[in-house]
């Protein structure tokens, strides 16, 4: 029998609903992005994000059901991102999900936001285990080993900034508009690798560190300015991107060898990065690694991925009750 999950994601600046069949087939997804609003402020303003979520939540629920031509009677369970993320944003989704679960008497399934990003890959093709997941986003840089569904072993993580944060900071330094990451990626493809930047935390662990290279970019821009030189934005973007992509891919390939894993999946907003995609595709082809990267629409925050993760959590019997609270931070589980 088929299982339909209604999923809600509101952890940052996207109000999203999705209906997912059997954890792999997208029936309908609605994403209402607030990006244009937050662009006026140079970044996400949490209070504005919360305000927009509550204004849109029922509209998005209705649109998602209409698009699928389904009613709540057709839904088996409700999956909800409970964290991590912006607490005020998460709360709207969590309260809406609890109310829906309550009035329609449906099971409520809590989903960790990063589990969602990882399971976005199941919408591309069924995940094969054991696998290594490279999670790269505005809040995360992690290597996660999975021997089976919902078994998450974090084998490496960032010791300071997340990769997405480093991108945003570099974007600000070189004067690139919000959202910084995608724009730096674009410039990097035009520029040449001419600037001498350090390879960040180039050691034998699977951990990352991006504060050093971030500072190096800031200092370099500052020094050039002092000398009255203008920096070449494209070249600096390219030099920065080459360095971080080098270390990300180097440690990922090392982890695959160390754990004897042949399946690699990439997850999180930064998996939309073209430089990272190209390098990983090249290396995995060379090494005979089975690489999965979600389509761009599944890389950024969306409820489809929460529905995919929610399906497996539902099958494993994971449930939340009416006391479920939003959590700004929480270990991947």
């Amino acid at each position: 029998m088929d299982t339909y999950i209604l999923a809600i994601e509101s952890s940052c600046d996207e109000t999203s609903l999705s209906i997912i069949k059997n954890g792999s087939e997208e029936i309908s997804t609605v994403v209402l992005s607030q990006m244009d609003t937050h662009a006026n402020y140079g970044g996400v303003v949490p209070e504005i994000a919360s305000r927009m979520h509550i204004e849109n939540i029922t509209i998005v629920i209705e649109e998602c059901l209409n698009k699928a031509n389904m009613t709540m009677d057709d839904i088996d369970a409700i999956a909800i991102t409970y964290g991590p993320g912006l607490i005020g944003s998460l709360l709207i989704g969590v309260m809406a999900a609890k109310t829906l679960a309550y009035i329609y008497n449906k099971p409520l399934v809590p989903v960790h936001h990063i589990a969602g990003h990882i399971y976005a890959n199941n919408l591309v093709r069924p995940m094969e285990f054991p696998l290594m997941a490279l999670v790269v986003s505005g809040g995360h840089t992690e290597l996660v080993y999975m021997k089976e569904h919902y078994s998450f072993e974090v084998v490496g993580t960032t010791l300071d900034d997340a990769i997405g944060e480093a991108y945003d900071k570099v974007a600000r330094v070189i004067g690139v508009k919000y959202p910084g990451g995608p724009n730096v990626d674009k410039l990097a493809h035009i520029g040449k690798d001419t600037y001498d930047l350090p390879l960040p935390l180039n050691d034998d662990t699977f951990n990352f560190s991006f504060s050093g290279i971030k500072s190096a970019v800031i200092n370099l821009a500052h020094n050039e300015e002092q000398r009255g030189n203008t920096i070449n934005k494209e070249d600096l973007a390219c030099s920065f991107q080459n360095r971080v992509v080098d270390i990300l891919t180097k440690k990922t390939m090392h982890a695959l060898t160390e754990y004897g894993v042949k399946n690699l999946i990439v997850a999180g907003g930064v998996s939309a990065n073209k430089g990272l995609r190209e390098k990983l595709t090249y290396l995995c082809e060379k090494e005979g690694i089975n690489l999965t990267i979600p389509e761009i629409k599944y890389c950024t925050d969306n409820a489809a991925m929460i529905g995919a993760a929610g399906y497996f959590a539902y099958k494993l019997g994971r449930r939340a009750d009416l006391t479920l609270n939003a959590k700004a931070t929480d270990r991947l589980n």
């Binding site: 919360s50 005020g88 109310t99």
Partner: protein, 206 residues
């Protein structure tokens, strides 16, 4: 007729079920912490103890602010989704009006919510809950001079350096005042913060 009353906008949490002008379930407390965890179980208890189901409700009355931004959104999200899902009429109520439902010998009632930096959310109501001065975000001193010639009692859950009464609400009085209100489309049922976010204010100043 069966009514559900939800208030999470002020420091006094209220969940009530009213049937034909009689309070069948009444939950009130002065603890505004951990609302998001506590509120749904209280609503569930309200229905269980009255042997009613959410779909039995004819109208949801919900306060939509002003007050704690997060608090407003918690109750309002529940009311929105419940009203949308079960096609129940929903009527927004000012949280200041709810505070003004106090029993008092004075002619006018002025509810105050501390909004920090010498500002308050305030309004002026008469004993029949008619709004005399619209709810606003205003300097306390300015508001006080606005009502100084009136026979007024200040109502608040916050502390001020003058006398305020910290009242219980008269839910029936509020419901009866709004019993014939038309109700709003749940999609447009939104908080009435009475205040822009700081980021918006700064952007406007530029």
């Amino acid at each position: 007729m069966k009514y559900l009353f939800i208030n999470t906008s002020t420091k006094k949490l209220v969940i009530s079920i009213v049937v034909d002008n009689e309070i069948k379930y009444d939950y009130t407390d002065d603890n505004s912490s951990d609302l998001s965890s506590r509120i749904m179980p209280i609503i569930d208890e309200a229905f269980k103890s009255t042997n009613l189901k959410p779909e039995d409700i004819d109208t949801i009355f919900v306060t939509n602010g002003p007050g704690s931004f997060t608090g407003i959104r918690i109750g309002l999200t529940i009311a929105k989704v419940m009203a949308w899902g079960l096609k129940i009429k929903v009527v927004p109520i000012s949280s200041l009006e709810l505070m003004a439902s106090v029993d008092s010998s004075k002619e006018y009632i002025a509810p105050l919510i501390d909004a920090r930096r010498d500002y308050v959310f305030a309004g002026l109501y008469d004993k029949n809950l008619n709004q005399i001065v619209p709810d606003k975000h205003i300097l306390l001193s300015e508001f006080k001079s606005l009502v100084k010639d009136k026979d007024v009692v200040y109502v608040s859950h916050d502390e001020f350096d003058f006398e305020v009464i910290n009242n219980s609400y008269d839910i029936l009085k509020v419901i009866n005042k709004h019993i014939n209100d038309e109700g709003v489309n749940p999609h447009t049922l939104n908080p009435n913060y009475l205040k822009l976010t700081e980021a918006e204010e700064k952007l406007k100043e530029k």
